[in-house]
Amino acid sequence: MPEPTSEEIAGLIRPGRVHRRVYADPAIFEIEMERIFGHAWIYVGHESQVRAPGDFVRTRIGRRPMVMVRHEDGSIRVIHNQCAHRGAMVVAKESGNAKRFECCYHGWTYATDGRLVHVPLRHGYPAHFDPDDPGTAMVAAPRVDSYRGFVFASLAADGPPLADFLGYMTTSFDDMVDRSPDDEIEVAGGVFRHAYDGNWKLYLENLCDAAHPIFVHRSSIDAARAQDDTVHTTGAGEIAVRQMRQNGAPPEFWRERVGIWTYPGGHAFLGDYHDDEKLVAASGDPAFAEYLAALEAKKGTEETRRIMEVMRWNSNVWPNLSFMSQFRQLRVVHPVAVDRTEVHTYAFRLKGAPARMFEDTIAFANVTNGTGSPVLTDDLETYGRIGTGVTSQGAEWIEIGRGYETDRPDGKGGVEGVDSTSEVYIRNMYDAWLGFMAAP
């Protein structure tokens, strides 16, 4: 089948509707890898993963295996994990520290910025062989930039700067970091890697979906509601059970208390929906009390109050990142195939906060992002059912129109739903999608 033209691709998006091919057609997926993941700013990791020169961690841009590494000059580089000689993956460890990267096959050796610095058996190459050619290297992503420790890379040499791309979403990163008494956070506590048989776009589409919990998470909501709270807990199970119950907040709560905000570039955040004093800072819990005291000591009462009044659930940074600033969790979406997606999730430690805060962060990670979570497993099942459903030749159009008539400007350059169940954040992602996929 010939590759769809830009006009054909543009025709797949209509007001409040998306053609099912967008989730099912391998040709569309290949174009996404090239036009979106080959150009946009893609989240690749956090600075705390590569503190010292030579520190590296494997990462990806789209399907490409990459390495994020702290170069000897202190800058962060993102380089392709491929030897320029015979194509072998050079960096085999998930993370570590290295002065040079040496290929296992014939010993070609690279500096931490990807430059080729040593070629054994240097005799006999043709005259045009040039080890200083930037294309004969572990080729570096042309642009790498970060915002408050969150590192992004772009495979395009030209394009809008990261700050422009993030726009108002910088406030969500600010919220995540501001919550640390020392203004510093770090990745800690292990990485969940879960997968499903469905399209990569489904993941961010679900993370700001205020209408799904009562249906998708019915089983864990009901099981948690029936739980006897006098039964023994170490504290971890209590957090999990309380979080499951929160997913059952009534419809009027979602309508009146939550909210959904979207911004240019496909980004969005859903307002927080927690009213449980064990889960939300600034109320009740003794660990929080100790944390608030630490925050006030460093930042003062006024600033602490301002920070605690920021109430956000998931912040989506299109196309591949979603994080919970208030709950110190982050998820990175890795497309594998049109019907296969991997998601890697990370927890963050707030520097200067009591150790117990981080234990609660881990318990929260287990219930919200855990591969064996009684909550997340129902989300994964749903993505898989969509993956199968969209291959049917039934309804041609996927409906994303809820709230279409009532979305309104938010006064900060974005568009908000009249209530949190608006699908405005999906429509907003498709505006960004069209900008990359069907630009003339």
Binding site: F192, V241, A365, N366, G372, P374
Partner: protein, 159 residues
């Protein structure tokens, strides 16, 4: 070298595996002590469930909720339900004192669901307390999967 576990321990492990294969979740839960816990670490040799995430880490309260959910009607992740077949083997006594024993064993589990099969294998650790009537209760159970840190699709069934 560890001592081979006595027959009543092996019988206990086989009984537990059977309860799980037959999806007799409440009966399985009843094997645990009132303050018992169940742990499937994410990392090889993981020292603690408190500072590193886990595939499953259930104190008694969460274990009850997990088990109750498996009987809910609207359980999407188990529609259709998984069928499993477990083999437990090589049980040895790693520790023994007046209050009970710590048992190490190997297991393999085949899970079949919606036209696909998955194989899980690893090492289980049971801390068993004598219940005073010739039986045991599980004070804690740890399951170290050989592929604990691999990419996994959703894990709904306890090991």
């Amino acid at each position: 070298m560890s001592r081979l576990a006595p027959p009543e321990i092996e019988s206990f492990l086989i009984h537990e595996a059977r309860l799980l294969d037959e999806r007799r979740w409440e009966d399985w839960l009843a094997l645990f002590a009132d303050d018992g816990w169940y742990w499937v670490p994410l990392e090889e040799g993981q020292a603690s469930p408190r500072d590193t995430v886990s595939l499953m880490y259930d104190d008694r309260r969460l274990l009850e909720t997990r088990i109750r959910r498996l009987a809910e009607a609207a359980l999407h992740a188990q529609t259709p339900v998984s069928r499993t077949s477990r083999i437990v083997a090589n049980p040895t006594v790693e520790e023994e004192d007046g209050s009970g024993l710590t048992i190490r064993a190997k297991f393999e589990m085949v899970e079949y669901r919606r036209d696909s099969r998955r194989i899980f294998a690893g090492t289980t650790w049971h801390r068993l307390a004598r219940d005073g009537e010739g039986g045991f209760r599980i004070e804690w159970k740890r399951v170290d999967l050989v592929d604990c840190d691999a990419v996994h699709d959703g894990l709904s069934v306890p090991f």
